[in-house]
């Protein structure tokens, strides 16, 4: 839970990103088939306190660090970039890529922001097949 002082008013906000509910939905779905996906066991495998995972799922605390989010994604079989995006984060390796050539990548991302998936895929580098 967070208290913010904004224009003299105090606002009580919960971290109402989709991160927590999404994590809870995925974990609960997995738990229906496999009891190893209880809050306690998932938290243990990810290396955090069960109470903390519970608060994350309820949106009572901000999404966890990048490293924890990536471990959580692996544990739940999710794409780490998708979970990081839900947490409002960009992975460290992507930040590093942008930092190296900021103008180039900023231009590229803006140019592609409305493009359909097929158009984005056209600029993705393919593994070249040769003569063998």
């Amino acid at each position: 839970m967070t208290w913010l002082d904004f224009d003299g008013n105090v606002y009580y906000i919960r971290h109402m990103t989709q991160f927590g509910p999404t994590v809870r939905d995925i974990r609960e779905r997995l738990r229906r088939d496999d009891r190893r996906y209880s809050v306690r066991q998932v938290a243990q495998r990810v290396g955090i306190e069960p109470a903390y995972l519970s608060k994350i799922e309820r949106g009572e605390v901000a999404p966890p660090s990048e490293a924890t989010t990536v471990r959580l994604a692996a544990e739940l079989g999710q794409d780490p970039d998708v979970l990081l995006a839900l947490a409002g984060k960009v992975s460290g390796d992507l930040q590093e890529i942008i930092r190296k050539r900021p103008r180039l990548f900023a231009d590229l991302i803006r140019q592609l922001k409305e493009a359909p998936d097929e158009a984005v895929l056209r600029v993705v580098r393919e593994v070249r097949d040769g003569d063998w």
Binding site: D34, R45, D117, L121, R125, V127, R128, D129, G130, W132
Partner: protein, 332 residues
Amino acid sequence: MIILENDRLEFRFPDVHERARCAIEFQRTLRIPDDGNDYPLPPGLGSFPLRHVDDYAARLPEAWHRRGGVMTPMHQAEALWISFHSGYPFAVKVATGKVCAVTGDAWVDHLNRGPQDYLVLPDQPWLDGYCVERGIIRQFVAMPLGEGYTVEEQLTGAAQHGGLQIVAYPMKAGRYEALLGRQARLADEGPVYYSESPGMGLAPGGRMRQHLERDHHRLDAWDQRHGSRCFVSIVNTAQWAAITGERPPTEPPSARVYTEHGLPWFDYYGSDATALAGSETLQGVASVAQHAKAAGKAPLPGNETIAVPHVVGLGGARRRRVREPAAGGTWA
């Protein structure tokens, strides 16, 4: 199209179906003893790095550049398994040194049914080696080309290609939609130059219990107009750092050390009724230990027979099919 993402080959066919995508990665693992015994599945110890061959063209033989694809580093006598991830049905062919790992036949791009020379995803979660008997494979083990160990050398007499070759064909969109309709509930899912030496190839190691699933679709279910293929060159770890500037992964522990630490092995229960028969051609290929013995060479280190007391069952369609030391259930 194939893209390289986080050391995975991602096959995507947006022209066929928006869901037509699968990922393939190469897992580091223990080399199981090549002692004639049948072992359960060893763990995955993380994926091998993959890099575009084109990025290092100036430091690689011209032949490598010509065939394109990606490259990966392996220690001599290191083992690997191939991990498949897909919710969409795919037919995937795997060869080493351009010899099919399922049938032992020479590489052709297209799929064959008699005998079946491909794997079907998502039924097949992984491939650890050459299909030598029904329910038994011989583990993929990296050996230098030119010493006669590899399947390619034993079957063709030449050390020409090495590496791994993969082609993936998605199911036709119409067939997939029909399947989805029938299974609606399940669908929720400073330059250094090297010689022309082709590097490393794969040879058959120890025996392992693994079913390769028979295709239960018709051959015309697969969209063979839309295949994508990739050549995976294998670089000796000694050369990897000089070529890429990156340190290769460390050598995995021996099977004995891993097992003595109480870490789990795995079993995935398939049905003999749906498993492919082994290839007589591949059955006739000498394993690394057999070849070394015939050549009067010492066996590979760490080849002593081991007892495997801790085997985690991965059976059941709804269980996660994870082969990691930490996925061992109650052992931790």
